[in-house]
């Protein structure tokens, strides 16, 4: 978490009241957006939280956003050959209602901006599944000037699925792994994002040069 401490001083995120600056927005739009930073929502304790985690893991709603070529394997997964519905997984068209974000492979800078935006609009607890080698280390596009190398520097990732391209079975295995994590109470990455908000924000702002959205998209 400290390999880019040098950049830390360059970008200022908060004003003295602890509100977000939203420096990328034009002045007339600043009033339209929320300037609060995300907060850590503490989980409940004991058996109640276990029950809720069970419900969360058995009803995963994927955000319908095909960010890369991995989206092509979501189609077979949705249809009769692999039929993810029987595992409680189904697609959902809006980020507000979705809980699972499958990053379908490489993310170009332009898409990264939308990924950040969609991710922040999702309501916690939310989970991210990095699909394909290109989310792990850049994969085939490791030296490309326009694709990111490590997804976990920009948004927290729960499960990575390596391969190019991973088969639908691999995706199902990844989803099962994610379910296990959630049931064990380890799917707290939305809180991790809120805790390390500044670190993530600085990483994001390093690559997204024309930041014309609020600092946190509620």
């Amino acid at each position: 978490m400290s390999d880019n401490m040098n950049d830390m001083d360059q970008i200022q995120l908060f004003n003295d009241q602890g509100r977000l600056l939203n420096a990328g927005l034009p002045d007339e739009e600043k009033a339209l957006f929320c300037d609060a930073a995300p907060q850590v929502d503490a989980p409940y304790r004991g058996i109640w939280e276990k029950f809720l985690n069970w419900a969360r893991s058995e009803s995963l709603w994927i955000l319908g956003f095909g960010t890369g070529c991995g989206a092509i394997e979501l189609r077979p997964l949705m249809t009769s050959r692999y039929d993810m519905y029987q595992y409680g997984v189904q697609p959902r068209p809006t980020p507000r209602q979705a809980g699972l974000f499958i990053i379908g492979g490489y993310a170009s800078v332009k898409t990264m901006k939308r990924i950040v935006r969609s991710y922040e609009q999702m309501q916690g607890p939310k989970f991210v599944l990095g699909l394909g080698s290109c989310t792990v280390n850049g994969g085939m596009y490791w030296d490309s000037y326009n694709t990111i190398n490590r997804l976990d520097h920009y948004i927290p990732v729960d499960v990575y699925i390596a391969g190019c391209m991973p088969r639908p079975e691999a995706l199902l295995a990844g989803i099962n792994e994610l379910k296990k994590l959630i049931k064990e109470g380890k799917g707290e990455n939305a809180n991790k994002y809120a805790e390390n908000f500044e670190w993530y924000k600085r990483n994001q702002k390093k690559i997204i040069k024309d930041w014309n959205m609020p600092d946190y998209n509620w």
């Binding site: 394997e73 170009s108 332009k110 898409t111 939308r114």
Partner: protein, 390 residues
């Protein structure tokens, strides 16, 4: 873009640009995509709408830009070969074939006859696979999920065949410069023929449930009409042009591989609206099945499928440049490769048919359509974003 200035629905023109006063309450600007289930791949349409009617459409691409052409400049020819297929996900084989063909032409390599037949077979299978994906999308964009469920599964059966033949499900990396990577596994041909029978049977069902469906007809007829005079203006190729009655098919016009030895006719339609394009594509699917059967019948059963190459790790290709094209599902797919005598290509340019279809043509056709029809129109042009921005 504005067709009728006197129509009060359209905003006034100032310096040739239409002026939208978004505060007037008359227009609404909505983004369709990139996070939108009704968009093909990862791109977005910026729509200005008046009521339900689109009065301006602007395509935004580049969400999938990976800089392939730059990456290939710093990879050797054989290292480029696993990269090229990633340009287009539903049918990567055309990329592989064209890159291999360009390299072979520049290096002066002749590939064995059997390799040509296998390549043709592979390309036709890719065509069928891609169309199966498309037809699900076309029905789904009008809200009929059932067809998509059927056909995507069929596509999966085709992908199984690919997997057995090439080892890869989506990306095959099968046609490398000099021929193809492997021969048919034993019994594979029979499996292929069986699968074709299944596909044909379900296609009949699909045609019945989709093309003869009253609601589908109501939605698709008259949507996004392409007239023959638009074909050259916008550089329209493939089924989009053929549905308008322009009989152009690269497989027939300038035959590559073994298409001159196969017996087929160019499928044309009479009216290129979304419905007409559907008809043409479904006919082409049947034609593709027929072509695969012909290839299996006519191809030499024995023989080499690969020619010996120099050590590919430091394979220098003589200076020169060439352009190769092939008829893919969406239209003309082409590779322009320039070599400067070194072991890496100096420039590779990929000409994808969606380049013109999804940007200039889509922006033109979307005007005056209903906002509900954007997804259907988009799919009926059969665009695929990665080949636009690469």
């Amino acid at each position: 873009m504005v067709k009728e200035k006197e129509n009060s629905k359209f905003p006034p023109l100032v310096d040739g640009k239409s002026q939208y006063d978004l505060t007037s309450g008359k227009y609404l600007r909505v983004w369709q995509g990139p996070q939108h289930p009704g968009i093909t791949g990862n791109m977005s349409l910026e729509l200005t709408i008046c009521g339900d009617e689109i009065i301006d459409c602007k395509t935004h691409v580049g969400y999938l830009h990976r800089g392939f052409e730059k990456l290939m400049e710093r990879r050797k020819y054989i290292q480029c070969f696993p990269v090229v297929c990633r340009i287009c996900v539903p049918e990567p084989d055309f990329n592989e074939y064209l890159f291999a063909a360009c390299t072979e032409e520049l290096a002066g390599i002749q590939i064995p006859e059997r390799a040509e037949w296998i390549r043709t077979l592979n390309l036709e299978m890719a065509r069928l696979t891609s169309f199966l994906m498309w037809i699900g999308g076309q029905a789904g964009s009008f809200g009929m999920g059932t067809i998509g469920q059927w056909t995507v599964t069929l596509r999966d059966y085709m992908l199984d065949l690919f997997e057995e033949l090439t080892g890869g499900r989506i990306y095959h990396m099968y046609m490398l410069p000099g021929g193809v990577r492997a021969d048919f596994p034993p019994g594979w041909i029979n499996k292929l023929l069986d699968t074709l029978k299944t596909v044909e049977k379900t296609l009949d069902d699909v045609e019945l449930a989709m093309m003869h469906n009253a609601v589908f007809k109501m939605r698709a007829k008259g949507l996004g009409i392409i007239t023959p005079d638009m074909v050259d203006k916008y550089g329209i190729t493939g089924p989009n042009a053929r549905a308008a009655g322009v009989a152009r098919d690269i497989r027939k016009d300038s035959p590559y591989l073994v298409y001159d030895k196969l017996d087929f006719e160019i499928v044309t339609g009479t009216k290129s609206d979304a419905y007409g394009r559907c008809e043409v594509r479904i006919k082409e699917m049947y034609q593709s099945i027929d072509l695969i059967r012909q290839i299996v019948e006519k191809m030499p059963k024995e023989g080499p499928f690969f020619t010996k190459l120099p050590n590919v790790l430091h394979w220098r290709i003589p200076a020169g440049h060439t352009y190769k094209r092939a008829e893919c599902t969406r239209g003309e797919y082409g590779f322009y490769v320039q070599s400067d005598g070194s072991d890496k290509p100096r420039r590779t340019y990929v000409r994808g048919p969606s380049y013109t279809h999804a940007v200039a043509l889509m922006e033109h056709l979307a005007i005056r359509t209903n906002i509900a029809d954007t997804a259907g129109l988009m799919v009926s042009l059969h665009t695929y974003p990665p080949e636009i921005e690469r």
